[in-house]
């Protein structure tokens, strides 16, 4: 019951937060000098033509009326129409979503699968050479500019050695669209050469995106394991003669992962923020690159659509994380 109450309370908070976010972005994007209507109408358009277009788009009405309309439109599930692609924003986002999800999931897997064991090793060999080396790498992971890392990796692995492709998702035509995830689609197609091609295209962007998240996972796991190692039950298990490998990789790890789970929300934030920059560098056709293009063209509807969408996804991920934390660790649920 308490968990149900928590879920309802958090959902109730999410809605006004998103409404506020919409209002903030709305005012930011419209109070501003840049005028998309004249850009859209083209250089040769007369003043009257520009005004006509402005009326047609409803941009001549008071801001609050426009905002109220936008809320109404959102409630009916419509994110608006992009001024430049002239397609519904939702369709644009939907078409580009699989690319971003694929990239983000692979990056998340890299961060977790490599990060957790490294964090455990770092804690077990505390203050040895291994620990110092791993900590230097994690500090570096949080300090390096992702776009620069991307360029360096492109320079070395793509341009210099020629081992990996420079950018994009695949060479040649995309696979038949079944799930939209090229990894899955090429496998369904049964074409392993193309599957390898997709994996090769994914490697550089996914690793670049994963690097700061990986560093965060290592730090949290290390801290969590160090804390759990001092608990009484570990001392007891040691005294009982349970093999230390079993203690560490089963009992200690399970207990320290609780704190790592709560960080998935943070990781997701790092990955989503990184996606905007990384997708632009690697010409990855996802929603991050879409948002950046939309911003450059003052495409209100697309910018708003992306922000609302990102806010909703971010909010829901944090909600799910909080709920799973409450279930995994009921001790903290009341707080």
């Amino acid at each position: 019951m308490r968990i149900l109450a928590l879920i309802l309370q958090r959902i109730a908070w999410l809605v006004p937060t998103l409404a506020g976010l919409v209002a903030v972005v709305f005012f930011i994007s419209r109070v501003i000098p840049a005028d998309p209507v004249s850009k859209l109408a083209g250089e040769t358009a007369s003043r009257a033509q520009v005004e006509l277009l402005r009326q047609k788009l409803g941009l001549d009405r008071p801001l609050l009326v426009q905002l109220a309309d936008y809320y109404k439109q959102l409630l009916s599930g419509d994110l608006g129409t992009s001024l430049f692609t002239t397609r519904p924003v939702w369709d644009d986002l939907y078409a580009r979503l699989p690319a971003t999800i694929e990239l983000t999931i692979v990056a998340m897997i890299i961060a977790v699968v490599i990060g957790i064991p490294l964090g455990v090793v770092s804690a077990l060999y505390r203050n040895t050479i291994i620990d110092h080396l791993l900590r230097i790498i994690t500090v570096a992971g949080l300090a390096v500019a992702s776009f620069w890392l991307a360029l360096v990796l492109q320079l070395y692995f793509a341009m210099d050695l020629g081992w990996l492709p420079l950018q994009a998702r695949i060479t040649g035509f995309p696979p038949p669209s079944i799930t939209g995830f090229y990894i899955v689609d090429t496998l369904v197609e049964g074409n392993f050469t193309r599957f390898g091609n997709v994996v090769a295209h994914l490697t550089l962007p996914a690793f670049t995106l994963a690097f700061p998240a990986l560093a965060t996972v290592v730090r949290f796991t290390r801290a969590g394991v160090l804390e759990t190692l001092q608990k009484n039950f570990v001392v007891y298990q040691r005294a009982m003669g349970i093999p230390s490998g079993l203690i560490v990789w089963k009992y200690v790890l399970r207990n320290s992962l609780i704190s790592t789970v709560t960080q998935i929300g943070l990781l997701f934030g790092i990955l989503l923020a990184g996606a905007v920059v990384i997708e632009t560098v690697f010409q990855w056709p996802g929603i991050g690159a879409y948002a950046f293009e939309a911003i450059l063209q003052s495409d209100y509807a697309a910018v708003m659509g992306f922000t609302v969408y990102a806010g909703a996804v971010f909010g829901i991920v944090n909600l799910v994380v909080d709920i799973s934390h409450a279930i995994l660790d009921p001790r903290g649920a009341g707080a």
């Binding site: 840049a34 500090v139 949080l142 776009f147 620069w148 730090r219 806010g311």
Partner: protein, 286 residues
Amino acid sequence: MSTAIDVLRKLLRDPAAAAGLLIILLLVLVAIFAPLLATHPEAIWDMNPRQRLLPPSDMYVFGTDRMGADIYSRILFGARITMVIASVAVGAALLIGVPIGLISGWTQNWLGEALMRVSDIFLAVPQIVLAIAISQTLGPSIENVILALSVTYWPWFTRLVHAEVRSLKNETFIEAAIALGVPTWRIILLHVLPNVASPIIVRTSIGMGFTILTASALGFLGLGAPPPAPEWGRMIAESREFLPQAWWYALAPGLAIFLVVMGFNLLGDGLRDVLDPRIRRAGARR
């Protein structure tokens, strides 16, 4: 004052924190003395087509860029832009975020609640998404980057201070002060604020690093200081056209960003260990 010296002494005993402090000191010195340290200070703004895209040599330590300017000299002047953006943006975020956190943590009524909900709105998307939207709509300039970064960073201070103040309010010495009839503003300024100073200082150091990274990303995306300015992120963006031949072009600016952000992160970690013994070196960044 003696506590500040004490903290400094403990910091210098930690090699990582001492390294961080050294890097930041170096950055400040470089920013101040850029005109003296630069080997080609005059070549920051001018075009020298004949020295275009030269590899590193004795004359040009980090090579030259597409305008024929010395990259080493540009990096030094870029340190000024980086320092100004980061310190003004984080300073403004402090000035907005800390008072709001103090008020909302102390009052715990509808006002405090409303202020926290407003800060939640800004935390509802990753910082860079809002920062890109703001700096694009305002137009590319250093002032607008600073504005975009401070508008999106203050909630981190608010949230931190809010949580600290709430737990402090239940402490006996605060209750005693209230019972003695000490004016509220006096309690907040003289008893609460000094007790939340440590986490604020730690967050400021880590926030400087984080802000420098975000600012350079904005510069890279073309939303920072306009073209001739030696902004590190923009220099990296410019280099893309000339890869792989001019491999040195992006090298120095990227290393500069890396070194400086690492400096602030190391100092932040060290400060956390010294100032707040409860928390060990854990993960939370930003």
